[in-house]
Structure formats: structure tokens, C-alpha cells
Symmetry: C2
DNA sequence: ATCCAACTCATACTTTGATATGAGCATGCC
DNA sequence: GGCATGCTCATATCAAAGTATGAGTTGGAT
């Protein structure tokens, strides 16, 4: 497992205009941000994206695909990079649609370098936080997967607030066995106390409303 | 305490153009939505807003205040109605700024009636859900406030995962006393089990990260 | 002065939790 | 066959939780 901490952020630029690609690449490189450019949406989708932090700069108008559709497709494809949209001919409804779909920013061309940099910084920061959360959730899930089927059942019932006796009754096993599974679940989940286990369970099984 | 369930939603329209106010009022009334209109931001701020669900339609350009500043001021004033922005002369950066600040939608004038209705429905729905969450949180907080100072301390320590013995040590009291406060906290919070209490505590004291 | 709520503690008892030790049985893998 | 894993259960022990009863102190409000 690679160290996720001090990874370099990568800025991905998707624009069919070569001069814009070069300009942005120069801008980002000037502040030490690794940059990769793509001429089309398909170009980006065909290129394996390393699982590293960063963001995605998309021109709304692409040769092969609408920028908004592209944005929508990314989530489905499993790419969760924060998106900064830019366009030379967009209108307000288009920008609103992009923002509704979660874009970090929407810049009309031409834009000031500083505006783009601000947008990229905001995007990278948003991604960084999202990655931190996702990472925590993943770790908990991984641990949960190391539990046996019974241990999972017992853990979920216990964190519902049921006593060992009730858990045993629900599962049709003896209280002693339930205790053993409970102990194993605590150990495997790294939960020192029941309160910890409850919070871990809520990461896996989020409660809708209190 | 009033019943919060089936309250009527109220649409608040802030626009200095009388014909627009009338048109929108007519549109909303035609589908049975109670509507109130205001000519200026100050007019709205001076009028007591009942704590009922609904939304706020704001023209960006108001005589006394910029719509964006108005939007920003609302949160500070304690008004948390979802906002739909509209404008006759806005540009993309303005719409993006509004969306970043949490606007539900941003409609350029002229707009189709149906677009406005869609926006209002979305806004009301968002507000409804937010109100539900806020209501739940408030209820928990209210209950928590019925606890005595000691009971609060004990509850927080217990939900950190500490045993009664540790709680007693931390607070410099006997374990028996800690148990009494613990029991009182459980009863007053309506927590049947420790798992319940942990989740209630997390509503009051949200954990940053697992 | 009186009253009340909060806080404190003790004793006693019951229930539950946590853990260790030992063991039987089924499944699947090498 | 041998072996590991998971699931099951019993007995036993100790720690902790939960509850009930009774009682003393303090500080603030009436």
C-alpha cells in the first residue's frame, strides 16, 4: 500500500485547443503542479488515471462530448476528481447546471490566471478532504470485511443496542457464543470500547436520522 | 409547541419590479402556494418571517442591496430559507458565486414558468429536508439541556468510551455517584441503551473523523 | 427561614460483560 | 488424510454495569 500522505497533486486539463493546453500547463508548472493534458474526453477516459489527488479542468465544449455529460460520466466511471469547468461561449444555465452537479468552479474564457489558480487550489483542497474521508471509510470497511459472517451479524446487532442475550436469541445461538463473536469483532475492528464499535458500525451502516 | 408536519410552504419573492412580483405571485398562487412579496431587501428583513417551510426568490439587482450580499446576510440574520436567484442582467461569475453560496438555482430573466416552478419545488424540498434534520438536532439538544451540569459531563465521558470507574476518577467523584448521573442521563435523554446514548452524543458533539 | 434541586456517598443485590480454558463438529483446502 | 477456519457450547471467574434504598451537604430561590 502506497503512502497516501504527501502525494503530489496532478492537474488534468481537457481542452481541444492546443494553445490553451500549453498555457495552462505552463501556468500550473510555474507553481510546481504536475500537469497532464488531453485533447478530448475520450483521450482522458482512455488514459489510466493514477489514484492520486488533484483535479480536472474541463472545457465545456469538447470535440467528442459535451463537458456536462463528461462531468456526469466521470462519477459513473469511478473518477472522483473535483472538476473545474471553463468555457468560451457558455451561458448562465450551463454554469448553473455544472455547479449543481458538483463542479468546484466555472470560469468563462478568458479568465485571469489568478482566478484559475484559485479554482484549482479550491478543487485540490476539496479533493484532499474528500480523499481523507473516503480513506477513513475504506479502512473501516476493510476491517469489517475481515470479520466472519457471524461476527458481522453480532456486531451489527450489538451496535443496535441489543444485549448479548438478545443477540443470541435473534441468531439462535447461545449467549456464550455471541459473547465470543462479540469479542472477536471488537478485536478485529480495533474497538477498545463499545462506544468505538458503535461509531465504526455507523460508518459502515449510516443511520438516516437520529 | 406547534405541529411542524403539514405546514404550508410560503414563497417569499423579493423584487423591485411590481409586475414581476405580481406575475410570480399569480404563478405560485395558481398552484396553491402561499406567496408574499417584498420590494426591497430591507423590506424583507423588516418583516417577521414565520418559522415555516418555504423558499426565497431574490432578484440579484435590488434597490438597496446586492442580491449576493443579501444572500450572505440571511444566514447571519438566522434566516435559513433556500434561495432561488433570478436576474435580468447577470453574468456567469455572478451565478457561480450564488451557487457556491448555496443557492438552489439561478434563473436568468426571462424564464419559463415551468423552470421557476421546478426551482421552487426543488428549493422547498431541500428546505423540508433541512428542517427535518435541524428539528431532530434541536430535539436532542433540548433534551441535553435538561441534564444537570454533572450529568452532561458524565454523559460525554461515558460516550467517549470510559467506564464508570474512569468517569468517576476524571471528575473526582465516587463510582457510585457516576453511575447515578449516568442513569439519570440515560433516562433524560431517552436512551434505552448505551449505543443510543453514543449516537445522541454524536449529534451534540459531532466527531470530526472516525 | 424554608424549600428545592443538585451533588454527593454508602450498602446491597442482580444482571451483564469480558475472558479464559477446553472441546465437539462441519467445511474446505493442500 | 491432515489441517486450518469457522461455528458452536459448557464451565468458571472476575470486572463492570444497573438499580434500589437511604442519607448528608450545599447553594440558591421564595
Amino acid at each position: 500500500m502506497p503512502l497516501p500522505s504527501d502525494e503530489k497533486s496532478i492537474v488534468h486539463v481537457v481542452d481541444d485547443d492546443p494553445s490553451m493546453r500549453e498555457a495552462l500547463q505552463g501556468l500550473f508548472l510555474s507553481i510546481g503542479l504536475e500537469t497532464r493534458t488531453y485533447a478530448t474526453a475520450q483521450d482522458f477516459l482512455d488514459t489510466p488515471v493514477p489514484d492520486s489527488p488533484g483535479c480536472l479542468i474541463i472545457d465545456i465544449r469538447l470535440p467528442d462530448m459535451n463537458g456536462l455529460d463528461f462531468q456526469a460520466q466521470l462519477s459513473r466511471t469511478g473518477v472522483h476528481l473535483p472538476v473545474v469547468m471553463m468555457t468560451g461561449y457558455g451561458d448562465i444555465p450551463m454554469s448553473v447546471r455544472a455547479m449543481k452537479r458538483g463542479a468546484v468552479d466555472f470560469l468563462p474564457k478568458p479568465f485571469k490566471d489568478q482566478d484559475m489558480l484559485d479554482a484549482v487550489f479550491a478543487a485540490i483542497e476539496r479533493g484532499r478532504q474528500q480523499r481523507a474521508v473516503d480513506g477513513d471509510v475504506s479502512k473501516v470497511r476493510e476491517r469489517f470485511e475481515t470479520l466472519s459472517a457471524r461476527e458481522k451479524q453480532v456486531m451489527l446487532l450489538v451496535t443496535e443496542g441489543k444485549m448479548n442475550k438478545q443477540v443470541a436469541g435473534d441468531l439462535g445461538i447461545s449467549e456464550i457464543t455471541a459473547k465470543i463473536h462479540r469479542g472477536a469483532a471488537m478485536r478485529k475492528m480495533g474497538a477498545r470500547t463499545l462506544a468505538d464499535l458503535v461509531r465504526l458500525a455507523d460508518v459502515i451502516n449510516p443511520r438516516r436520522r437520529p
